[in-house]
Symmetry: C2
Subunit: 239 residues, 2 copies
């Protein structure tokens, strides 16, 4: 397929790749981090599970395409959405040259309803530590990268709040951090640090449970946008 390098003025003369948007959708289900996958009906990789996605339309931006996919799969709007990476190996789709712009979405616990599209035979949430591997295409790689990005961003952003309901206890928040980071955190240090950060707002609500009732808190959105906010747990991060 050797050819003269096309200039920007004669786009239409040259063969074009297809562009898809794939969305790795995370949510917390039963206090465990899950990811939404769809099962493929058709060749190639029929029967295998895949990250939901689809072709981009010419009249929508990449992020609009990602939001559309997300809503088609989960019926959810207004979620946290972030571009992850663009995957473009020549052979990643056996049919055509397909370049995939991958996004990460965080869906609030319990907010989601799942729809099954006509392209996939099933749609299901999987715990991230028990995935139906191997996935279709290069989706194992995409998902692994999404998880690693999630872990590292958790340490210096308020991303964890995107997974929680409006009101939550501090120990629930700690539990999310432990889920995503995959390690135990010290309770006292967590209390200290989250309170010093000043990003939580106390509410008058109390939730009763088995032991001592727990205070509920709310995320202070206005503070999260402050320039200096960092909530770091470990020093050894590298994206």
């Amino acid at each position: 397929m050797q050819e003269e390098r096309p200039t920007r003025s004669d786009i239409s003369k040259y063969p074009l790749p297809a562009v898809t948007v794939d969305v790795v959708i995370f949510s917390l289900i039963n206090r465990t981090l899950h990811v939404l996958l769809v099962q493929r009906k058709r060749w190639p990789f029929e029967g295998r599970w895949a990250i939901p996605g689809g072709f981009i339309r010419l009249d929508e931006s990449l992020e609009e395409a990602a939001r559309r996919e997300l809503e088609e799969e989960t019926g959810v709007r207004d979620v946290y959405l972030e571009q992850l990476y663009t995957f473009g190996d020549v052979q990643r789709d056996p049919r055509h040259r397909v370049i995939s712009v991958a996004y990460i979405a965080l869906v609030r616990a319990d907010a989601q309803t799942i729809r099954v599209s006509d392209e996939s035979s099933d749609v299901r949430w999987f715990p991230v530590d028990n995935l139906p591997t191997p996935l279709a295409f290069d989706h194992d790689q995409i998902l692994a990268y999404a998880l690693s990005r999630l872990r590292s961003k958790l340490e210096y952003t308020t991303l964890a709040f995107q997974l929680l309901p409006e009101l939550f206890s501090i120990l629930e928040l700690k539990h999310i951090y432990e889920q995503i980071l995959g390690e135990k955190l010290d309770k006292g240090n967590f209390y200290r640090k989250i309170k010093e950060a000043g990003i939580l707002e106390e509410t008058p609500y109390i939730r009763e449970g088995r032991g001592r009732p727990t205070r509920l808190w709310r995320f202070r959105r206005e503070r999260a946008g402050d320039k200096q906010f960092v909530f770091r747990w470990r020093e050894d991060r590298r994206d």
Copy 2:
């Protein structure tokens, strides 16, 4: 342009966007951070400066395309290259729908030679704090993002070494950090921290200058890959 959502099986029936790879090429020239820009010959944005880039070929991966662009513009191979972000707003190119996968490249000081292609009337290095704005397309935005990524990654990676020659003094390294971070660093603290990090290897070489001669060091590549290496200067980063 409403249409039925295409499935992965009938790619060819639907209109496709074009995909380009743009490479933001940084280098240190006279101890100052510069970026390589090309001046456009043709409509649109003729006369304006732009980030070098070009269309992707169907037989090369995204990174291969970026390396090819880089070599076409600078003649340089074996440089640090990292995918930055994919820009896909509908109206970013007035002629067609064009999706651009942007890369960052770091070219060693003094290694580069510039070539002028037939598409641009001029190619030139610009100091990052004195750019010929506005640039063509959405390239102001791409460049601003590239700079911010460079700044934040500098704090937790060994990226700065990619800009230095094989042998360098510790104060030269400090100078790069200051250039990219845009702030002064304490000399004593810099010496302490860089030495404790264990990523520099002393060489027997000494360079003479105006004042006291200075010891030259080498970057220990093997240590840079170690799992725990971090070289952080500030705590307030956010990508």
